[in-house]
Symmetry: C2
Subunit: 212 residues, 2 copies
DNA sequence: CGAGTCTGTCAACAGGGTGTCGACGCAGCG
DNA sequence: CGCTGCGTCGACACCCTGTTGACAGACTCG
């Protein structure tokens, strides 16, 4: 897991060639995934798109899945970074804080729509993708749970089910609702409205009422 | 869409044979899907499991997908029926009513776990499965929205975002959380706790507080 | 400066899946 | 009794994946 960053191919005295082609594959993948589904993009498409033969593709990546994982890693890392930013940034109030956290996570997935949708599709069959994805969710859940507990400790949020259980429900909700909004699924929310609706559910669930 | 029921194969003077084999394929599918993933079950497995050759399988079903749709139709129909029951059944209070509705929908999907997980997997690639699934969700959402509006009209539920938007978020949440609970994904809730946690989110979201 | 080694490349193959075609047997029916 | 059509399957065409083995060019080190 977390291939891409781990693939620090050793000494590269004067061989920019390899990196270029790896890049070309990655770029081709993101482009093609914008046009058709993950299942409909073959290794051959990726190779040809990057100007090489299929066997040569396998020199750079062990599979189509690995390409997606590399792409996904970048998006996931960005989402994590944005969330951290939003959490530490000063906010005028509790409501705005949560709004920014939810929006910060959503933003990278929205702007890399092709990768997001491909990952959601591949997750159904690829254990590796599922692992990365659930790892991200796990972290969001743990952080959310801690934040809810802090609010309860401060006396701002009422008691109720275990904070972690609520965090699980809320984070999975966000994942599913944002996915359906981004993919234009029906039933679904408009992508621009989604964060505000989700925020309402979060606030009411955590604080027992919209205005804590 | 909705193949199975529509496949009322015409006059069958004395040919119970065909129905038996169709049944055998369906049974084999549900059994095999309990053992491995949808992707790992081939048409050949289905055919052999039902005691026929691959080409003969195609006499009964146009594809593996069609078999899953037939299986899914039954589960979906049951979920719809259970929900209708729960809605009309007398309930001691508002909270119990919602609890029974959520639980009623969850139950058939839980007891036909293999089909549920296979459908979730296939939805990623099959437009037909997605259509059936989203059709079910659409109906649940519409009904939920109407129920929320009724509660608002009665003065029991506070105003807020459009009822339909909340209904979309809540129903997708249930779908995703129940799926992860049933599949044993992490992060996830214990299958037995899930309904109660979801109920809390529903009540707080709809009524603004746990106890309306 | 030439032998060795490493990166990069691809034609050809093996294997497994899907869906189709054409032949064939075996009912019931006129 | 011979026709019609359901049910059946062997064999085929096709597409996709991942591997093998041979080979070219460049750097590198004695």
């Amino acid at each position: 897991m977390s291939e891409s960053t781990a693939v620090a191919r050793g000494r590269r005295t004067s061989r920019p060639r390899g990196d270029e082609r790896e890049r070309a594959i990655l770029d081709t993948a993101e482009r093609l995934l914008g046009e058709r589904s993950y299942a409909d993009v073959s290794v051959d498409d990726l190779a040809r798109g990057a100007g090489l033969s299929r066997p040569t593709f396998y020199f750079y990546f062990p599979s189509k899945e690995a390409v997606l994982l590399a792409l996904l890693d970048r998006v996931v890392a960005e989402a994590r970074a944005r969330r951290d930013e939003a959490v530490t940034a000063p906010a005028p109030g509790v409501e705005d804080r949560w709004r920014h956290v939810i929006g910060a996570i959503a933003q990278p997935f929205r702007s890399h729509l092709a990768v997001t949708l491909a990952a959601a599709e591949a997750r159904a069959t690829s254990a590796a993708v599922r692992e990365v994805w659930n790892g991200v969710m796990e972290r969001f859940v743990a952080e959310t749970a801690a934040e809810i507990e802090a609010e309860r400790a401060r006396g701002h949020a009422p008691d109720g089910p275990p904070a972690r259980d609520l965090a699980v429900a809320l984070n999975w909700m966000n994942e599913r609702v944002l996915h359906s909004a981004f993919a234009g699924e029906r039933p679904g929310l408009a992508a621009d409205d989604a964060v505000e609706v989700l925020l309402t559910v979060w606030l009411r669930t955590i604080y027992g009422a919209r205005t804590p």
